[in-house]
Symmetry: C2
C-alpha cells in the first residue's frame, strides 16, 4: 500500500509517517515511480508507535518497541529494552503524578484562603 492508505489505516497522517521514517523508525521500499510502498508489517509498526505516542511516550522511546517487533517478536514489548523503557516511563509517570498532587494540594489551600479573605 502507499503512504496515504497506511496513514489512514494507522490513524495518522502521511506527514507523520515521513517524520517517523526520517527518524529511522520505519522504512519503505520505493516503487519505480519513487512512491513509498508498505505492507502489513509496516502497519503493525506504525500502530505500535501510535499507541505508545498516544499514552505520552516520546517518539524516541518507541524505538525499542519497534526494534523488538522488527526482530520478529509477536509484540513490541517483550524485549529487555522495551521493558526498561516501560519501567522508566512508569517511574517518570509516578513522579509526575506526585508533583501534580503536591501542586494541587497547595492550590486547594490557597484557593480556600483566597475565598476566606475575599468572603
Amino acid at each position: 500500500m502507499r503512504i496515504g492508505e497506511l496513514a489512514e489505516r494507522a490513524g495518522t497522517s502521511a506527514r507523520s509517517l515521513r517524520y517517523y521514517e526520517a527518524h529511522g523508525l520505519i522504512e519503505a521500499r520505493r516503487g519505480a515511480n519513487g512512491y513509498r510502498e508498505y505492507d502489513e508489517s509496516d502497519l503493525r509498526l506504525v500502530r505500535e508507535i501510535r499507541s505508545l505516542l498516544d499514552i505520552g511516550f516520546a517518539l524516541e522511546e518507541t524505538r525499542p518497541f519497534v526494534d523488538c517487533l522488527r526482530a520478529g517478536n509477536d509484540t513490541g514489548s517483550v524485549c529487555p529494552g522495551s521493558i526498561a523503557v516501560y519501567r522508566h516511563k512508569l517511574a517518570e509517570l509516578n513522579g509526575c503524578i506526585s508533583r501534580l498532587e503536591a501542586v494541587r494540594d497547595r492550590l486547594r489551600g490557597e484557593l480556600a484562603e483566597a475565598i476566606t479573605q475575599a468572603g
Copy 2:
C-alpha cells in the same frame, strides 16, 4: 532599582522581566539614560508572577493576580478573576492527574504482561 537587581531579588533573569513587560504584566519608569527603574511594589508583582509560574501557571493566567495586586489588594489572589483562575487551574490539574493515573494503570498492566511473556 534597575533590572539586574530586580531580577536577582525576584529569582529570575533580566530577559524574563523584559518578556513580562512586553506582555503587559509589569511596566517600568525609565531613567534619563533609558534604563528601566523599579521599586518595591514591582518586586512584589514579579514575585507573584514567579510563584504562579513555578506551580505551572501560564504567564497569561497570572494576569488577574497581577491586576489584583496593582489594584491595591494585599495579595493577588483575593479578586474574583484570580479565584476563577484558581478554580479553573484546579479542575485542569485534577483532569491531568486522572489522565496520568489512567495511563499509569494501563502501563502497569502492560509491563506486567510483558514481563510474563518475556519470562
